[in-house]
């Protein structure tokens, strides 16, 4: 009998069906891998188990008995703990204080006893961390191990780890994996979300693969190779994606030579479409190109300026939500004293601003008035505004990061059509996307960004499977 069983869970968030028949059965004393593309529903599934998401339908059973888990507190009472990717420790408290935090009767503990208790807990679970150290002084991996020890001290039997290794250095990864193996030997059951194939094959017993919110496979890991896992993850029965624009490549427009920055481990690039799972360097690359992240080494050679950027996070970095459509459209032109024609000697010319806004709204079919705050626009209209703004600069190089994330079908098509049109008109377009179909549909050349380095796809290998394999880190076979 499985220790924990999630059966046929469904969950809808607004227009998004996050789960549509997701199931997972966890055997006692095992490490279970949960695998899937970005947006496949992995996090939603484990949040349902931890009481942070209420499923619309489906059943959760613990020890064979159906349970309703409405809060993390209830999950913990059932012995289920979730270790988040980002530390949930209180940075200004010591390790010992964090370990006892929230436990009954922990007020007014003498420091010596507190440290002794915490040291006992940490020692029992093989976590070598000084109890008196402040949580903020720990390395990320140490924080994770403290969190695991804390969960175990509260009687957790089931540990769920949401992409724990994505934020770790390689040496920390092996320490974490070793700890997981030791815990399994003592009878713990573990769900491990990871994109890294070698980690999964190193420690996991079984694997459950989610695709578009649905469990497509749940089987022992033995006998599965990278290609099979990649195919399970991205699917091969889908209709072929649309075709990239057929244009003759022009001269090199953007050259990135040996970029090294925090999160980037040497990028060489001459204009391609990039695939890759979040957290493998997309964000640092975007920030380097936007000029907001310093480079440790290498250089960005912009051979056909200017460079315009469609930011991945249009609500945080792309647009100023409290400013109007028109103001957002011309904001980059307001930098450095203001550029004509909208600005003249630092002054804003209202007539020119209105004309610019009307033009953009008409050309990109943005459903909004020039004076509307951008906050009130739908995601699709916000993105069209971002496109309009990027193109106002008449860029020689256009970088689009996840350009259609969160958009509906119509807006997605509109944005992709515009990117193709720009490429045909001679703009060098770099699409960075976690959506494979988008990459296949837009990219004439394709490379995969994996842990800060690029794995280029040979011309003859344009397939979801070839990309999926490299997204998991499998070297080109």
């Amino acid at each position: 009998m499985p220790l924990v069983a999630l059966r046929d869970l469904h969950k809808r968030f607004g227009a998004t069906q996050a789960l549509r028949g997701a199931s997972l059965e966890l055997e006692p004393g095992s490490i279970h891998a949960l695998l899937g593309e970005n947006g496949a529903g992995k996090t939603t599934l484990v949040r349902a188990l931890y009481g942070q998401v209420a499923p619309d339908s489906g059943e959760i059973a613990v020890d064979g008995k159906p349970v309703a888990i409405a809060s993390p507190r209830q999950a913990l009472a059932l012995g289920i703990a979730l270790v988040h990717q980002h530390s949930m420790l209180v940075p200004a408290l010591s390790v010992a204080e964090n370990v006892v935090l929230g436990e009954r009767g922990s007020a007014f503990l003498p420091r010596a006893r507190l440290h002794a208790e915490a040291a006992a807990v940490l020692g029992r679970h093989g976590v070598a961390v000084e109890p008196g150290a402040l949580a903020e002084s720990l390395a990320v991996g140490e924080m994770q191990r403290v969190e695991i020890a804390r969960a175990l001290a509260r009687g957790a039997r089931v540990l769920v780890l949401d992409e724990p290794t994505a934020v770790l250095a390689p040496s920390e990864v092996s320490a974490l994996l070793q700890l997981l193996v030791e815990l399994r030997a003592r009878g713990m059951s573990i769900v491990l979300i990871s994109h890294k194939l070698e980690e999964i094959t190193a420690v996991c017993d079984r694997v459950t693969v989610l695709r578009a919110g649905e469990t497509v496979a749940s089987r022992p890991l033995a006998g599965l190779d990278a290609a099979q896992l990649g195919r399970l993850m991205v699917g091969d029965a889908l209709p072929p994606p649309g075709r990239p624009p057929e244009t003759e490549p022009g001269p090199v427009a953007l050259r990135l030579a040996g970029l090294r920055a925090e999160g980037l481990a040497g990028i060489e690039l001459e204009l391609v479409a990039l695939a890759g799972i979040d957290g493998n360097g997309q964000r640092p690359l975007e920030e380097v190109l936007a000029g907001v992240r310093p480079l440790d080494a290498g250089r960005v050679e912009l051979l056909r300026p200017p460079l315009a950027l469609l930011s991945a996070d249009r609500q945080r970095t792309g647009l100023v939500l409290d400013l109007s459509v028109a103001e957002n459209l011309v904001l980059p032109e307001a930098a450095h004293g203001g550029m004509p024609p909208v600005f003249h000697g630092g002054a804003l010319r209202s007539a020119e601003l209105a004309r610019a806004a009307d033009e953009a709204i008409a050309r990109f079919a943005i459903r909004a008035a020039p004076d509307d705050p951008v906050r009130t626009l739908s995601g699709g209209n916000q993105q069209k505004l971002c496109v309009a703004r990027a193109l106002r600069a008449r860029p020689g190089v256009l970088v689009a990061v996840n350009p259609t994330r969160g958009l509906d079908v119509g807006a997605t098509a509109a944005v992709r059509d515009e990117l193709r049109a720009q490429a045909r008109a001679g703009t060098a377009v770099l699409v960075v996307s976690t959506e494979l179909d988008e990459v296949l549909e837009l990219g004439q050349r394709i490379a995969v960004l994996f842990r800060g380095v690029l794995l280029e796809l040979p011309a003859g290998e344009r397939s979801r499977e070839a990309i999926g394999r490299r997204m998991l880190g499998a070297a080109a076979a």
Partner: protein
């Protein structure tokens, strides 16, 4: 329709504050209608009352404009108090020492300019600390208030003390450095003309220039501004300089137009009331004018209320506090979810 809604919040805040104050006065055993009547009469009842209100509104308006600007940029300049003080100090130093014998065409502009520059630099310290060292401007501007107050105390006990040495105050400013009274008036000085024109200028700056757009963008989303090639650091320093300049100018005008000399606690409280002025105005430059009048009227009418309704003048501070309290509830722009 949209315009009407903009005014609804501040007006409702003021009205509710007065109703609650009335209930409170009644509980104290006073006649609330008579007290409030006396307050309004003291602020607007005759020409002298009107002039008093206008003179008190002047510095509130200037400092309030500066506060509104900096808050718009996401910078919490709490240092209006200190910036007014160093403005007054610098204007006095120039008028009584540097340009003591100069004619009016030189002495007055020099004194006003000195106050403006001093206020700007004083606030600029907070800007440099924030950008260079990551020091919260809330902390630094508050602490600079204390330093400014001590500077003024030192000046009027030391280098700027009047020649007779009788009191801790400066010499009277020479007539050449004084702002003339407006024709046929007894209190209202010509500096008030500036106070009426500046809201328009600041409005134009905010909404009709590249600098204003950058400033508002940084206030609403520093990250998005940075991606649009706008430097939040540069805008932070700029807005603090401008905000401090307005407060420094207010201090200079106070010395040149109202008191005629420098002493401790000159215009004390202006810098803090100005924050309430800016909040009640919803950080809108044109709203600062009526908003400053509300708080000036409360201050100007408090004496009359004490005399004719036997209500202690500290009751006015309670009303001021209520207006501030309710303006935070009613008048702060509400974040609408998309």
């Amino acid at each position: 329709m949209k315009r009407a809604r903009v005014f609804a919040g501040p007006i409702a805040a003021t009205a509710v504050a007065f109703v609650v104050a009335g209930v409170w006065l009644a509980l104290l055993g006073a006649d609330p209608l008579r007290a409030l009547g006396a307050l309004v009469g003291g602020a607007f009842g005759d020409s002298l009352a009107l002039e008093t209100t206008a003179v008190r509104a002047g510095p509130l308006l200037l400092v309030g404009l500066g506060v509104a600007l900096s808050f718009r940029c996401g910078i919490w300049n709490i240092g209006g108090e200190g910036q007014v003080a160093v403005g007054a100090l610098a204007a006095t130093a120039v008028a009584t020492r540097v340009a003591a014998g100069a004619p009016g065409l030189v002495a007055l502009p020099l004194a006003l300019l000195a106050g403006t520059v001093a206020g700007a630099l004083w606030a600029g310290i907070a800007g440099v600390l924030k950008v260079g060292r990551g020091v919260s401007e809330v902390l630094s501007t508050i602490l600079l208030n204390f330093i400014a107050a001590l500077l003024v105390a030192w000046a009027v006990h030391g280098p700027l003390q009047e020649a007779s040495g009788a009191y801790p105050q400066s010499d009277a400013l020479p007539a050449a450095a004084r702002l003339a009274l407006l024709p046929d008036l007894h209190l209202a000085h010509s500096g008030l003309v500036l106070a009426v024109l500046l809201p328009l200028a600041i409005w134009a700056l905010l909404f009709r220039t590249a600098a204003g757009l950058r400033l508002r963008a940084v206030g609403a989303s520093p990250e998005a501004a940075r991606y649009a090639a706008v430097s939040p650091e540069l805008e932070t320093v700029r807005v603090l300089l401008l905000s401090g300049a307005l407060a420094g100018l207010a201090g200079a005008i106070e010395v040149c137009g109202v008191t005629g000399r420098l002493f401790e606690n000159l215009a004390a409280g202006t810098g803090f009331t100005a924050i309430a002025v800016a909040l009640l105005a919803r950080l809108h430059p044109l709203g600062v004018l009526p908003s400053a009048l509300v708080f000036a009227a409360l201050a100007a009418g408090s004496g009359a209320m004490q005399r004719s309704a036997a209500v202690p003048s500290v009751a006015v501070q309670v009303i001021e506090a209520l207006v501030i309290f309710f303006s935070v509830g009613f008048a702060l722009p509400r974040r609408e979810s998309a």
